[in-house]
Each structure stands twice: as C-alpha cells, then as structure tokens.
C-alpha cells in the first residue's frame, strides 16, 4: 500500500470513530493506524482524539439539552407568574408565533415553539431556551395591532434562534458539566454523577433565569434580536413598522424613577428605535399593515382591559 493510501485509511478510520463512543474501538483504531508504520503511536492516538467528541462551549449544548434547560427555565418563570386564563388569546398568540417561527432562521427546535400570555400588568416578554416564549397581559395591552405583537414575538424568536439564553451560562459551569457528562454513549447517570450534574444544572438555570428576569441580555443581543424581528416579520408578511411603533410607545411610558421589569432588562427604547429605523430603511419594499389583521387583534385582545 502506498503512503498516500495509508494516510487515507488513517483518516477514514479516525472519521469512523466519531460514530463510535467505545474506548476499545478507539484503542484498536489507534493500533491499526500506528501499525501502518507511517504514523507514530502518539500521532495515531492524537488522530483518534481529534475525531472524538470534545465539548467546551455553549454552541455544543445539544438541542435536547437546550430543551431541558428551556423547560426548567420556563418552570421557574411560571413559579413567579401565573398563566393568563384566556384560551382565545393564547390560541391567537400560538398560531401567530408558530407562523413567525416557520419564517425564522430556526423554525425547528427539539420541542418546538410554544407561547403563553402571563397574567400580570407588568409589560414584558421573555424567551426561555428552545422556544418557550412568554408575553405579559400588560404587553399585549400596550400593542395597538397585530403587527406590533408580531414584532415582539419575532424579537423573542430571534433570541431563541441565536441561542442568546444559552450564552448567559457561565463557561466554567459548562466545562464542569461536560466533564461529568463525558462522551460515552450511555444515557443513564449513576447516583453520584446525577447529583453532580443536577447541581450544575441548577447553576445553569440560575445564570439563564437571572439574565431573562433580572439582568437582561447583553445589549448587542437585543439589537440583534430587533434586526431579526424585522426580517422574520417581513418574511411572514407583516409590515416592519410594528417594532418601531412599540418602541415609540415604550419611550413615552418610560418610568422616571428606577428602571424595573422590561425597562431594566432592555436597552433604552430610544437607542433601539434609532437602529430599528436604519434597519427598516434598508429592507426596501415591505408588506403593508392590513385592517383585517388589526381587527382580529382587537377581537383577540378585547377582554384585556
């Protein structure tokens, strides 16, 4: 066999290893690669290691893990806020949100997108990882039409699509988790591992919930979600004006004292408005607002006041 053929074989074997989690197979493969005589044993083992799964950043949190982080985050949000018992409004928000998600950059998530109106007069919207999206009754009341609510939902979908929530998890916590989780193919933890991983999971939830509810995302994530909101809304067929309209309304209702809720967790509406106007200008021809949509929004939101 030529050296080139041997190298090809080595690469093929190393690649096939990424489909195998078994240590014996890995060692066997390193032996075979080394036995070609052209690659030292150390290099062979390093080649095998390269093909192994090594996780270190938020980008490597799997879809399924994101779903479980999202579920628990949502469970914690729902320990602070009650769902708003209004089936017609919840159904309206879910259908609209689903269509906006279909037109986003990430229409499919492990458990899908789900939307819920929270029973509070506070004006706020939050997205837990994986697609659990909340808007408050107070926020829906603040929206004048379907375009505005669509913009808010699209903004939250943008946070999910870009995995902004997961980026609030402390890196050291992720490294700890990945170390315990390891890369073996078994799906069951022993009790010691389970206690450790659950402890880390609690820390992860602390990071995410603190960001969503208390501290807010990094400003650059909010601006990015605004940009995505415009794009997803327009792709869906909405006028891009909804976001600007909402921000103008929020600027007018800015509290004079200490910022709380939405005002605490988001950059100033005026700052966002400047960017949103620039982004809207570059969109070019976009759909117009339609009376039929404004009318059905009014119908869905009629019992709010």
């Amino acid at each position: 066999m030529t050296a080139r053929a041997k190298a090809l074989v080595s690469i093929a074997i190393a690649a096939s290893l990424s489909f195998s989690g078994c240590q014996a197979v890995k060692q066997g493969a390193a032996d075979i690669i080394a036995s070609t005589g052209k690659v030292s044993r150390e290099d062979a083992q390093s080649l095998v290691r390269t093909a192994e799964v090594v996780r270190s950043t938020f980008a490597e949190i799997t879809e399924e893990e994101e779903y479980y982080i999202g579920r628990a985050t949502a469970a914690l949000i729902l320990s602070k806020y009650m769902p708003y018992r209004n089936e017609a409004l919840n159904s309206y928000v879910n259908v609209m949100g689903t269509i906006l998600a279909y037109n986003s950059d990430r229409p499919e998530t492990y458990g899908g997108y789900h939307f819920l109106v929270l029973d509070t007069d506070e004006v706020n919207a939050m997205a837990a990882p994986g697609g659990f999206i909340f808007v408050t009754k107070g926020l829906v009341r603040r929206c004048g039409d379907e375009e505005t609510l669509a913009a808010i939902l699209a903004h939250e979908i943008g946070h999910v699509a870009e995995r902004h929530g997961l980026q609030s998890i402390k890196k050291s916590r992720l490294l700890d988790a990945f170390k315990v989780i390891g890369s073996e193919a078994s799906r069951q933890f022993n009790s010691e591992e389970l206690a450790k991983v659950t402890g880390i999971f609690e820390g992860v939830l602390g990071d995410v919930v603190e960001t969503l509810v208390e501290r807010g995302y990094d400003r650059k994530f909010e601006y990015e979600a605004d940009k995505l909101a415009l794009s997803f809304a327009v792709r869906t067929g909405y006028s891009p004006g909804g976001l600007a309209e909402f921000l103008v309304g929020m600027e007018e209702h800015k509290p004079s004292g200490t910022a709380a809720g939405w005002f605490k967790t988001h950059p100033s509406p005026a700052d966002r408005l400047v960017r949103v106007k620039t982004e809207t200008a570059v969109l070019g021809a976009a759909p117009a607002k339609l009376d039929v949509r404004t009318a059905r929004f009014a119908e869905a939101a009629k019992n709010l006041r």
Partner: protein, 161 residues
Amino acid sequence: MKKPARLTFLIAAVLAVFVFLLAETVVVKIKTTSLRRDPKFTAPIVAAIKAGDSLEKLEARDGWVKVKTKAGVVGWLHSTAVESKKLGLLAMDKTMKTQASAGEVALAAKGFNKQVEDKYRAGNAAADFAAVDAMEKVRPTPAEVEAFMKEGKLGEFGGSR
C-alpha cells in the same frame, strides 16, 4: 493478522466509510416533526418522524432537504430539523469541529436530560413543570395555521408587498 488479510480489512473499512458518505444520511434531531410533500410548512404532511431517525438525503433547496425514510416515503424537512452524519469526517477540519461534536453528542450521549430534570424537580417543588407541560400541549393544527395565514393575507397568501 496476516498482511493480505489486514490489507483487505483496511480496504473494506475505507470502502465502508465512503459508501456511507456517498449515501449521505441525515439524522433527525427534533423530538417529533413532520415530513412534508413540498419544501414549505404549509405543505401536506406525508409522514411523522422522530429524533434519531436516519433518513437518506436526496436533494437540498432553500434551507430544506428532500429525504427518503427507511420505509421508502419521500418528503421534505427543514434543514434545522436534521444534521448530516457527514460532519463526522469534516470534524478533522478544525473549523467544522463544533458542529460535528454537538451533533454526535446529540445522538449518542447523556447530558441534561429527563433523568436530570426528574432529580431537579424532586428538590425544587416551586418550579411549575405542570404549567410547562400544559404550555407544550398547545400546538396549532395545520388547518388553524393555514386559516390564520389566509385570513391575514400572510406568507404565500399575501400579495400586499
């Protein structure tokens, strides 16, 4: 192992990997989703699929992939619902490593999963998972989605642009 036998094994290994890659298998990474007749979410559903299902990739277009199931059903899926097994080989290239790693783990390893959630729930009674379960149960039907789009002149039913 005698030399010719080892050579045969190595050639077979290379062939196996390349045949595997040529077939271009994609794996579903979404808990449950639908295979559709055309590359759009409003197209009729032709099959239900679930996480871990292996599908043969036939074609890719505008963010959608055309696939064939083991049962021979052909349909379209959004590309965010699947991942290519081919990334395993590309993992050799450092720039592709992240995707490959996440992908392999998604399909094989333990992580933050049901077992961890159950343990967490046992110690955190205040976290309202029942409300989350109720939230997850709300899933608009294709008919509701289509009616909403039609009435509001959204998506393919629009024209106000």
